[in-house]
């Protein structure tokens, strides 16, 4: 089970602008680095991060080798309805992590 830290309010008023932050543990090996044997260490990165609110897309982010290790993303959403904000990370070597948080909107 991969290590993810999501920071989002648990409640919000309808129409309120909320900030969502997410951190995921991942070494983001660029594929441009040589190891101590002189050979290139193969690329191993997260390629895509998506967030959705009750199935409606909030963010679809393509990441490259230029994203720092343990990727951090912060973005905003207009509080629409109670439900779940689902976040998904996918990448090299079949990396796939999904985490969600519940949010109550009044």
């Amino acid at each position: 089970m991969a290590n993810v830290l999501i920071n989002a309010p648990k409640t919000a008023k309808k129409g309120e602008l909320i900030e969502i932050k997410a951190l995921v543990l991942h070494q983001m090996e660029t594929g441009f680095r040589a190891g101590t044997n002189g050979r290139i260490i193969p690329r191993n990165i997260i390629e895509r991060f998506t967030a959705s609110w009750n199935g409606k897309e909030l963010l679809d982010m393509t990441m490259s080798s230029a994203i720092a290790a343990n990727p951090f993303v912060s973005f905003f959403a207009v509080a629409s309805e109670s439900g779940r904000i689902v976040m998904r990370w996918t990448g090299d070597n079949g990396f796939q992590v999904e985490e969600s948080v519940a949010i109550a909107v009044e």
Binding site: L17, M61, I67
Partner: protein, 148 residues
């Protein structure tokens, strides 16, 4: 998002190249930008690219992009694209947005291999492109110290 397939293909091509050749240049950054904007003229403004002017370590550089936009169905930011000119490849990230965001803002942390220019391009719902760039001085280039 049409840009992504091109970007992923480009990234794969570059990782297959020999190590010494892996280096973006202002020209390859311009080419990568053109793959996204496809000849549409880019205007300066509306984009606020926030990155520290002097960075202690290029491994983890906080960066945020904020675009002035009402983010309504009639007028919103469709995507934010960030590029660099001296890393081994010119892309940083592409983020697709919609009026559901309320605010056209993305923050993350990036790697910068050397003192260089970073460029953020905002793609608007009306088909226009807007740009901001920042010059970053990197004290310690993104290089990793292994456990010894």
């Amino acid at each position: 998002m049409a840009g992504r397939r091109h970007f992923l293909g480009g990234a794969a091509a570059i990782t297959l190249m020999p190590f010494e050749a892996a280096r973006a240049t202002p020209e390859s950054m311009a080419a990568a930008i053109q793959l996204v904007v496809k000849g549409v003229p880019i205007r300066d403004g509306r984009v606020i690219l926030d990155v520290p002017p002097l960075v202690e370590n290029g491994n983890t550089v906080p960066l945020s992009v904020l675009v002035e936009s009402p983010m309504t169905d009639a007028d919103y930011v469709r995507a934010i694209h960030v590029f660099n000119e001296k890393n081994p490849q010119p892309h940083v990230f592409d983020a697709r947005l919609s009026p559901r965001n309320g605010k056209a803002f993305v923050a993350t942390r990036i790697k910068l291999s050397d003192q260089q220019k970073v460029v953020a391009i905002a793609e608007m719902s009306d088909g226009t492109y807007w740009r901001a760039s920042a010059d970053v001085i990197v004290t310690l280039a993104a290089c990793l110290e292994d456990i010894i």
